[in-house]
């Protein structure tokens, strides 16, 4: 059976892609963020995940307002990195894991979710930046399954719905009969706002609450509505929903292996957090 080995959550700020392209990792502005990655990469080299399931938000590359999904699950053999319109370098295409995609789609529809099923999907910096941070040589040793959460057009799915989605996805992954190691990624945030008179808003206290909840369990965050999250984390801080879903997919005992929180990159409170899944629920029960 497939096994969820952990959740890696990270900011995906576009500027990260440019900093990588320009080799700025050791500049004082960038060092605090990039320094979080060697330990993550050591863990990856040791644990060797086979598949990465990404909870992320599309930034107007793959979806438009003509048909805006609430949740969309990729079921492609390959995901293509495409031009987003403002100069982030594209990366080599990433192989998909369609069998797991359909396992997840079947599982979550059974559990009362209404996903869009995607057989063609271009991926943006929310996928490409984390991949490059994990595997700087751009030789992907993993396949991926992208799960997009609407963060653009309200009504957004709120923390409770995203938590439930994560639960259902985790259940589907654990029921997948392949002997594969699955890493979850929550891509986005943390607090930031690009638009309006409140542009530049960051909320360190709320981010800290979320980072703590990622360790102890994100269920308490489900008391917030999507609009509460806009207020607390900023208009684009709603990307936090991806962290909630990724964490909710992992039940049982977890251990925090790494955490970085740094203000700012661009207009954003950046964060990287790695949680290992030390014992699945079933194992814990059996013990």
């Amino acid at each position: 059976m497939a096994r969820i080995i952990g959740t890696l959550s990270t900011s995906h700020i576009p500027a990260i892609g440019n900093a990588i392209a320009k080799g700025l990792q050791n500049e004082p502005y960038w060092k605090p963020f990039f320094d979080s990655w060697p330990p993550v990469r050591e863990w990856l080299a040791r644990e060797k995940p086979d598949v990465v399931v990404f909870f992320y938000n599309d930034h107007g590359l793959n979806f438009f307002l003509d048909k805006m999904p609430t949740f969309a699950v990729g079921a492609c053999a390959e995901y293509v990195s495409e031009d987003e319109g403002w100069g982030i370098p594209t990366i080599p295409s990433v192989r998909g894991e369609p069998k797991l995609s359909w396992q997840i789609i079947n599982g979550i529809v059974e559990d009362g979710f209404d996903p869009v099923m995607c057989q063609e999907m271009a991926v943006d910096h929310a996928i490409t930046n984390p991949l490059l941070l994990m595997f700087p040589d751009a030789k992907w040793p993993v396949t991926i399954v992208p799960i997009a959460i609407n963060s653009i057009q309200h009504p957004l799915p709120g923390p409770k719905r995203c938590f439930d989605l994560g639960r259902a996805v985790g259940k589907a992954i654990e029921a997948w009969p392949e002997d594969k190691k699955v890493l979850l990624i929550g891509s986005g945030g943390l607090s930031h706002q690009l638009d309006g008179e409140r542009a530049g808003f960051i909320n360190k206290a709320f981010d800290t609450e979320c980072l703590e909840a990622m360790v102890s369990g994100v269920e308490p965050l489900t008391k917030y509505s999507a609009l509460d999250v806009v207020e607390l984390a900023g208009a684009q801080g709603v990307e936090l929903m991806c962290w909630i879903a990724a964490r909710a997919a992992m039940q049982g005992e977890v251990k925090e292996l790494h955490r970085t929180y740094h203000i700012p990159i661009s207009n954003t409170a950046s964060a990287v957090q790695l949680l290992s899944h030390t014992r699945a629920v079933e194992t814990a029960k059996a013990a």
Binding site: A15, H59, G60, L61, F64, L65, D66, E82, D83, E84, G85, W86, G87, S151, I152, Q153, H154, P155, Q193, L194, D195, G196, E197, R198, A199, G200, F201, I202, K204, A205, L227, V230, E231, A235, Q236, H262, I263, P264, S266, N267, A269
Partner: protein
């Protein structure tokens, strides 16, 4: 959706309808050919996407706040900002009425809350 959040426009149904053409134009900028076509003849490009008078005036003014009022969404407007060579801090400064330096300082200050 009656909730008010200070300095924040919720991009809900009303805004989504109002801004549809503007955001559709911005979405087209994923294609480099379209970015070139826009830069070569902005008026013609805005005609093609049937931008409203308010949207054209907002673009002409260069004011991001006006673009948002005209229905622009941050995620799509970002592509326009890219074409115009504006970074997120330029835009932040403009919207908050600060200098870019002051805006950057504001960001830094929030690390010390």
């Amino acid at each position: 959706m009656a909730r008010e959040i200070e300095g924040t426009t919720i991009f809900e149904g009303g805004q989504a309808m109002k801004g549809y053409q503007l955001n559709k134009m911005c979405f087209s900028f994923n294609d480099p050919e379209n970015r070139k076509a826009f830069l070569a003849d902005q008026a013609a490009y805005m005609d093609k996407y049937k931008l409203t008078k308010e949207q054209r005036e907002a673009l002409a003014s260069g004011s991001v706040l006006k673009m948002i009022e005209a229905g622009g969404n941050a995620y799509y407007l970002a592509k326009l900002a890219g074409i115009l060579g504006l970074g997120v801090q330029d835009i932040g400064a403009q919207q908050t009425g600060m200098t870019v330096e002051a805006f950057k300082q504001k960001l830094l200050d929030q690390a010390r809350q």
